[in-house]
């Protein structure tokens, strides 16, 4: 028992040390961007512009979807992020009637948010089809799809749910298709290429339209609204740093459609760094010279590893500290046990992404919400295994301990916990391995870790980059599993291992 306590303490200390080293630094202006390339480029542009205005700006790239960024902005976790007018009207303020820019700006101001003039391009939704297939079927318009109710439609998950997405499109064009897949936007292109999918939603400035030879179907009944890019910022921040906002306003109208498509192609197809693309653009369009140094690639694996270890280690240590007593409590009283096991069971059923988004208004972005989510997910295996380990002890053993005159605390410490140690350790092992996998999602809310290269890799359709995150994560899971198997010898009394 003393060894277990020591191990928990050491884990906590290591994780805490990793925490302080990994999260030192960070600018006074925080720019966010969504997890697709165009947003990352715009976020980078905004960051460099802010820096050129004398601010110390830091870009938290690829933070997830609209809901997350919006919550983070309102919560004051980020100061600036790129958004689209259509997204504001039909998603964030869905149900409000905001026909013009003035009404939209008023609604934003009510939430404490300001908006720059449009940057230029209109990245509206579009419906795309593989060009050869479109030619073969003779489909050139969205109306034309109605004739073919057996083709495979797959839309990004966001598009499936939005007011101005698939439900509205389907009603507007009276499309007959019943079977529609929800899929990640970047995976949809691969589906189109492999022929598994026929139709998906696109953005008008997507680099892939040219690259994959896609036919953009004509919006012949004028369904899709305007999606002008703007930069959103907190009004409070604007009061503190008016010079940054003034510098950002200089971007208005500098980004026509083709300029944005070109930059997207450079990032997605030719894999140029977003920082470089943004710097080139700013130099040409506004004459701004780059001030910040590019990130050094070689240190990245180490920083990802340290961030990932910290996420897993801290959340696991906290979970052990809470779940062990909970499991003990649950094993003591049946009624309390039912409540405890039921509660941690329900927590486990909350989808990871939903939990992360839910955490942002409470805990902001970065490692805090990720740690909390991982901590919550770690509880069930440990609580349940502690409970099972303790309740599985034969009543005659408990009676023997009582009959000797062993006190309740001594009985727990000397008899019950050692006898349950194998089961408890198995629970901790399960939590650790699951945690290593789940922690990759932490990148979506800016917690870093191996999820970061995976996220970027998916965004840039770069398998090598995906593997840079996925392989170390798998190796870490294997290493942790091996460590726990070894620790069996250390923690589980020999008498209990004899039956093997």
């Amino acid at each position: 028992m003393r060894r277990l306590a020591a191990a928990i303490l050491i884990t906590t200390l290591i994780a805490a040390a990793a925490h302080t080293t990994a999260w030192a630094g960070g600018g006074s202006v925080r720019v966010g961007s969504k997890k697709f390339t165009e947003s990352v480029i715009l976020g980078e542009i905004a960051t460099q512009v802010a820096n050129s205005a004398g601010a110390d700006a830091r870009h938290s790239a690829e933070l997830g979807g609209t809901r997350l960024l919006w919550s983070a902005l309102v919560a004051g976790e980020v100061d600036i992020y790129p958004e689209y007018t259509g997204t504001l009207r039909y998603e964030i303020f869905a149900g409000h009637d905001l026909p013009d820019t003035e009404s939209l700006a008023r609604e934003l101001a009510r939430a404490g948010i300001g908006m720059t003039e449009p940057l230029g391009f209109n990245n509206t939704y579009a419906i795309g089809m593989q060009a050869p297939k479109a030619r073969a079927l003779g489909v050139t318009t969205i109306s034309g799809l109605a004739k073919y109710d057996d083709i495979e439609l797959a839309f990004s998950n966001e598009f499936m749910d939005r007011e101005d997405g698939w439900p509205g499109l389907r009603a507007h064009y009276r499309l007959p298709h019943m079977r529609v897949l929800g899929i990640d936007h970047d995976l949809a292109y691969r589906g189109l290429l492999s022929g598994r999918l026929d139709v998906t939603d696109l953005y008008a400035t997507d680099a892939e339209i040219q690259y994959y030879d896609l036919a953009v179907l004509d919006d012949d009944k004028n369904y899709f609204p305007e999606y002008k890019a703007v930069l959103l910022y907190r009004l409070e921040f604007a009061r503190e740093a008016p010079e940054v906002i003034a510098a950002l306003e200089r971007l208005s109208g500098t980004l026509p459609d083709q300029t944005m498509i070109d930059m997207n192609v450079r990032a997605k197809i030719y894999h140029q760094a977003e920082q470089q693309i943004a710097a080139n653009f700013l130099k040409n369009a506004l004459g701004i010279e780059r001030t910040s140094e590019p990130e050094i690639e070689s240190s990245r694996l180490w920083s990802d590893t340290s961030a990932h270890l910290q996420l897993v280690g801290l959340s696991l240590a906290a979970a052990i500290a809470v779940a062990l007593p909970l499991g003990m409590l649950a094993s003591r009283r049946r009624s309390v046990g039912r409540i405890i096991l039921g509660t941690v069971g329900v927590v486990q059923t909350i989808p990871a992404l939903a939990l992360l988004v839910f955490m942002v208004p409470l805990l902001g972005i970065g490692s805090a919400p990720a740690l909390t989510a991982l901590f919550l997910y770690s509880l069930l295996p440990i609580v349940r295994n502690t409970y099972t380990g303790l309740t599985d002890i034969a009543p005659s053993i408990i009676e023997a301990a009582d009959a000797m005159g062993l006190g309740a605390l001594d009985r727990l410490r000397l008899i019950e916990l050692p006898m349950a140690s194998r089961s408890i350790l198995a629970g901790i092992k399960t939590s650790a391995v699951i945690n290593i996998g789940t922690a990759t999602l932490g990148a979506l809310i800016g917690a870093g870790g191996y999820g970061q290269p995976i996220l970027t890799g998916i965004r840039l359709n770069d398998t090598q980059l995906i593997l840079q995150g996925a392989v170390p994560a798998a190796l870490m899971a294997l290493a942790v599993q091996g460590l726990f198997d070894l620790s069996d010898r250390f923690f589980v009394p020999r008498g209990l291992r004899l039956s093997d």
């Binding site: 005659s396 053993i397 023997a400 009582d402 009959a403 000797m404 001594d410 006898m419 008498g495 209990l496």
Partner: protein
């Protein structure tokens, strides 16, 4: 040493024990006998405070059992069950000495006592560092016995301690037990459903029927002066089976009759 006054215990609608009055003198060996479910194990558990009686009082060593003195009384009482109740994660040594260590004994004291006990119970010293899973059934019961005797208790409660053993080992252990029981200081309560064992150990036999005392007396009283039809049937049922067992055993393999002759001997000597 052990006194029960109007003790009762029921599980739901079934009356498991009592009302029962019982007084056992210091240094006596008493066998509590009866068929399964007659309340004999419940009686031992109540004496140790493992089960709280519905009514009545329990006195151990002149002190009434209460939550405040329970731990102390339990330390002064040895308890062995049919399956031994050994802790599987501790060696024979650790199982035996766990309470001595918690009671502040010195290492020398502990080792001395341990060696004394291993001789007393014929437990091989090298096996002290083995785990229960590495011991035979008989050895495990000897460890349970050592553990119960470690703190040199005044009262020893044994709940069918030989019940799970095969006849030969049982016979050996019976002999060791009778030596231990001969210690005049100890009060021993031995629970069994086996008439032979009762005959072997008892100066005082209590036969329980449905939680009540059917008869108390010497073994010969049960056989020759049964107090009720139940006592007659209980004795006859077991004696019959012994006779049959002895007959068939003699035909097949003479000498493997185990404790059976003991019945005849003590019955005769008592008569």
């Amino acid at each position: 040493m052990l006194k029960l006054e109007a003790v009762t215990k029921s599980y739901g609608p079934t009356q498991a024990l009592g009302p029962i009055d019982l007084a056992l003198a210091s240094g006596s060996t008493t066998v509590i006998l009866g068929p399964s479910g007659c309340g004999k194990s419940t009686l031992l558990r109540i004496a140790l405070g493992l089960i709280e009686p519905d009514g009545g009082k329990v006195h151990v060593g002149g002190v009434e059992l209460a939550p405040s003195n329970l731990a102390l009384i339990r330390r002064r009482t040895g308890y062995v069950t049919q399956d031994g109740g050994l802790f599987p994660h501790l060696t024979a040594r650790a199982n035996t000495t766990i309470m001595a260590q918690r009671s502040g004994w010195t290492n020398t004291q502990i080792v001395e006592r341990l060696h004394e006990l291993s001789s007393l119970t014929s437990f091989p010293r090298p096996a002290l560092d083995r785990y229960p899973a590495e011991l035979s059934g008989g050895q495990r019961q000897r460890v349970a016995l050592m553990r119960a005797l470690m703190l040199d208790p005044d009262l020893l409660l044994l709940d069918e301690p030989l019940g799970a053993l095969d006849p030969l080992i049982r016979y050996d252990l019976q002999e060791d037990l009778s030596r231990i029981f001969a210690d005049a200081e100890k009060t021993v309560v031995f629970v069994t459903h086996d008439l032979t064992e009762a005959a072997y150990f008892a100066d005082d036999v209590i036969l329980l029927e449905n939680g009540l005392v059917a008869q108390r007396g010497q073994f010969s009283d049960l056989v020759y002066k049964p107090a009720s039809e139940f006592v007659t049937r209980f004795v006859r049922a077991q004696r019959l089976s012994f006779t049959e067992l002895a007959d068939t055993a003699e035909d097949a393999a003479p000498g493997v009759t185990g404790p059976a002759p003991a019945v005849g001997e003590s019955a005769k000597s008592d008569a």
